[in-house]
C-alpha cells in the first residue's frame, strides 16, 4: 500500500476525520474546498499534527498516535509541491533546485540534477531569480526541487490552479511522466473533475466535512 492514512483532528469549527488506503500510482484527493484536502497533505508532510490516527507511506510509519510515532518533516522523505510553488525568493533557481538534493544522503538521491533539469526543460532558467519566473516555470522548478530531494512519495496541492490553460497542459504532461516513468506514488489534491479524471489512478472522494457535535 502506498498511502495508508487514518487521521482525525479538530480544525476550527469542524472535525476532520478521514481514512483511505490506496495502492501505487497517482491518487487524487477530490472534494470541494473546505473538505480538508490540504490539511491531509500537510499531515502527511509532517507540517500539521493529527490528534489521532496513523500515516503509513510505502510501509514506513510516519505517524502513529497509538505507538507514539511522529517523524519530523525532514525525516519523512516526502516531497511537496504547493499551489503557489513556494520557491525560496532569496535563492536563484539553481540553488532552489539543489536545496534538498544537497541535504539528502547520497543513497537517497535517485534522480540526477542534470536529468531532472532536462526532463523539466528548465536549463535556461537556472541563473534566474524566482520572482522573474512565470507561473508555469515556477511549478516546473518546484517539482524539480521536490524530486531532487530524493522523496519516496510526492504530495501535490492543486499544482495547476494558478496556471492558464496552455501552462496547465504542459505541467499535466510533466505530472503524467512522473507518474508513469519515475513511478513514484503521488497524492494529488484538486477540486477540478476533469483534472482528476485525466490524472488519477485512484480517486478518494471527500465530501463536505460533517460538523462536529
Amino acid at each position: 500500500m502506498s498511502f495508508d492514512v487514518r487521521v482525525r483532528k479538530a480544525l476550527g469549527q469542524f472535525t476532520l476525520d478521514r481514512a483511505f488506503n490506496v495502492d501505487t500510482g497517482l491518487t487524487v484527493l477530490f472534494g470541494p474546498s473546505g473538505s480538508g484536502k490540504t490539511s491531509i497533505l500537510n499531515m502527511v508532510a509532517g507540517l500539521l499534527r493529527p490528534e489521532s490516527g496513523h500515516i503509513i507511506v510505502n510501509g514506513v510509519t510516519l505517524f502513529d498516535s497509538a505507538k507514539g510515532v511522529n517523524l519530523p518533516p525532514n525525516k519523512r522523505h516526502i516531497g511537496s509541491v504547493f499551489q503557489d510553488g513556494r520557491l525560496f525568493p532569496h535563492r536563484r533557481v539553481r540553488a532552489n533546485l539543489l536545496y534538498g538534493y544537497r541535504l539528502a544522503q547520497p543513497a537517497d538521491r535517485w534522480l540526477d540534477p542534470e536529468k531532472a533539469i532536462a526532463f523539466l526543460g528548465i536549463e535556461h532558467l537556472l541563473d534566474r531569480w524566482p520572482a522573474s519566473l512565470s507561473g508555469g516555470e515556477v511549478q516546473r522548478v518546484a517539482i524539480g526541487r521536490a524530486l531532487l530531494a530524493g522523496p519516496r512519495a510526492l504530495l501535490m496541492d492543486e499544482p495547476l490552479s494558478s496556471l492558464d490553460e496552455p501552462r496547465r497542459e504542459e505541467i499535466m504532461l510533466v505530472i503524467e511522466r512522473i507518474r508513469d516513468e519515475l513511478r513514484i506514488p503521488i497524492l494529488y489534491v484538486t477540486h477540478d473533475r476533469s483534472e482528476a479524471q485525466r490524472l488519477a489512478t485512484n480517486v478518494v472522494e471527500l465530501e463536505q466535512t460533517e460538523k462536529s457535535e
Partner: protein, 231 residues
C-alpha cells in the same frame, strides 16, 4: 586636519557606537524573534520593558544603570565577580548605555522583518530535509536580513548621538567616556570656545552623513538583483 584630541573623540565615539550596536544585535534579534513568533504569558510586559528606553528620559535610564552596575548593584557584582571588570566610568559602560538606548529601535526593525517572513517557506525547507535549525539559518535568517541591516543602521545612528544616559552613567571623562555629543556639551560650557564647538559639530554632521550613505550602499548591495523581498 583634525587635532590629536579631536581624533581621539571621533575614534572613541566610533568605538563605543560600533561595539554597542554589534553586542546589542544578537540580544535584539533574540527578543525580536521571541516577540514575533512566541506566545507566552507576560509577553506584553516584555514588549513594554523592551520599549521603555524609547520613552523614559535617558537621564533616568542612566541613573538606573548607575544603580544596577554600581559596585554594590546586581549587575556590577556579576561583572566584577565573573569577568573582573567594572564598567562604571569606563568606555564599556558608555557602550552599554548606548546599547540599551538603541535596543528598542533595533528590536522593532528586526521584528518587522521577521514578521514579514513567510513561515510556509520554513515548512518547505523542512519537507526538503532541513532540520529546524537549518531551516532557520537558510530561510528565516536571510529573509530577515533587510531588518537586521536596518537595525544596525538605526542602532548606530542612535548610539553615536547618545548623550543623557551616557553622561549620567559613566560621566564625561576625556579619552574614556567623552564621546562627540559629550565633548560638544563640555566645550559649550567653556566661554570663548565657539570655534571648538563648531569643529566638533561639523564632525558630528560628517559622521552622521557617512553613516547614512554607508547604509544606503549596504542595503543596495544586499538587495542586489533579486527583486521581491526588499523592505
Amino acid at each position: 586636519m583634525l587635532t590629536a584630541d579631536e581624533w581621539e573623540i571621533v575614534g572613541l565615539s566610533l568605538k563605543v557606537s560600533i561595539v554597542s550596536v554589534v553586542l546589542t544585535l544578537p540580544i535584539a534579534f533574540a527578543l525580536a524573534y521571541l516577540l514575533a513568533r512566541a506566545r507566552f504569558p507576560g509577553k506584553a510586559l516584555v514588549d513594554g520593558i523592551v520599549h521603555l528606553p524609547l520613552v523614559v528620559p535617558p537621564v533616568v535610564t542612566g541613573w538606573l544603570l548607575l544603580i544596577a552596575f554600581g559596585a554594590t548593584g546586581p549587575m556590577g557584582r556579576i561583572f566584577s565577580d565573573w569577568f573582573g571588570v567594572t564598567v562604571i566610568f569606563r568606555w564599556t559602560g558608555a557602550a552599554i548605555a548606548s546599547g540599551i538606548i538603541a535596543l528598542p529601535l533595533m528590536v522593532r526593525a528586526v521584528r518587522l522583518s521577521i514578521e514579514a517572513v513567510d513561515r510556509r517557506l520554513e515548512g518547505v525547507a523542512r519537507t526538503l530535509g532541513a532540520g529546524a535549525w537549518r531551516s532557520f539559518a537558510t530561510v528565516t535568517l536571510p529573509l530577515s536580513l533587510p531588518g537586521i541591516l536596518a537595525a544596525l543602521v538605526l542602532g548606530f545612528g542612535r548610539a553615536i548621538g547618545e548623550f543623557g544616559a551616557t553622561i549620567t552613567f559613566v560621566s564625561s571623562i576625556p579619552g574614556e567616556t567623552r564621546t562627540l555629543p559629550l565633548a560638544i556639551y563640555s566645550a559649550l560650557q567653556v566661554p570663548g570656545s565657539e570655534h571648538a564647538v563648531f569643529r566638533l559639530a561639523l564632525m558630528s554632521l560628517a559622521l552622521s552623513l557617512l553613516a547614512i550613505i554607508a547604509s544606503e550602499w549596504i542595503s543596495r548591495r544586499s538587495a542586489g538583483s533579486r527583486p521581491g523581498h526588499v523592505l
